[in-house]
Amino acid sequence: MEGQWTAGIVILSCYVVATLAGELTFELADNDRQCFYEDVDAGVKCTLEYQVVTGGHYDVDCLISDPSDKVLYKEIKKQYDTYTWTSEKKGVYKFCFSNEFSTFTHKTVYFDFMVGDEPPLIPEMGDHDTALTQMESSCVTSHENLKLVIDYQTHFRLREAQGRAFAESLNERVNYWSIAQTVILILVGIGQVVVLRSFFTENKKHQGI
């Protein structure tokens, strides 16, 4: 009976540890506002990081509020930023991205919301009575460094996506505008001649100009 209680408490404790890392990339239409919510316990360190990947001047409004609707962070037209806070209350934290200042550009926004610490690989590893061996601690160090590498890779990927999207749109625009200019050039050339001719070919009443 006691064993079952212990098992139950162990299972419950695995879920109570608040551990989340949600990263999403979504498209924000013009004049649109998107909000995301997260249930967070009290006293947990949270980090929100966001970056605008494509669209217009690569800026977005961001707002973070706590369960009592108090504004924790509010920025207008930011390209990328990161904000860390420790939750004071337990409840639903809300963060919103707004593109309401833009009339026709869609923005692609990437955000990464990290809550708490990383969970252990398997639940049994969480409760260690003895200290880690040297092998295990060097594994932990390597793991942390690799996580940093992956983080840098993500940042690099976003910057590269931004640059590439701009280059591709530039390429397209050069094409369209060149074609348009050539057509206008030819039309104006022919038009000038036609109009000039019409000054001279008319009703015999007006002689010449």
């Binding site: 009976m1 949600g22 979504f26 919510y37 594994c139 793991h143 890779q153 000039l196």
Partner: protein
Amino acid sequence: MWPSGAKILLFLVLYLSGTSALYFHIGETEKKCFIEEIPDETMVVGKYKTQLFDKTINDYLPSSPGVGMHVEVRDPDDKVLLSKAYSSEGRFTFTSHTPGEHVICLFSNSTKWGLFAGGKLRVHLDIQVGEHAIDYSQIAAKDKLTELQLRVRQLLDQVEQIQKEQNYQRYREERFRQTSESTNQRVLWWSIAQTIILLVTGFWQMRHLKSFFEAKKLV
């Protein structure tokens, strides 16, 4: 067999386990899409849970079995990788075969909840990519690995993901360079072409008008 206290504990566990992800609200006909830029042969696991808004209690019901979600995943060439309707709580997986931007779209596939919901559905979503998607407890049980072996396996998976991403970066940088070089060439050729057309048009204009005025006996 189980004491009632343990049953309550188990119920709490099951209840808490379902409400852990990020969530957002979605309208009835609204389609929410998320973009994942991933290298090839990368596994993506998505977990979602929907909750219907109940006007009688003015809150979201803990679970609404009748409301299903339709999940559609498109690959960078706009080909549909996955298009399936799931129940109100589900898990979908796909593996990318081409590197690039994959679009994961979610929309509700039932029309009846509009009558009750007042137009709002709460969707919990958690998308894990690559090595985050691997379930280590399963691997530990299947291959019977010790803790140290499991840690090393995790490091190997991480390094593999980094390597795939680097490879993908190289391919993307090549595309970027090609685009820039093509822009450079286009600017050059179009400028030359437009200058030639300008000169030809001017020349034709003068010649045409000269012969026109000569015909009119004004010159």
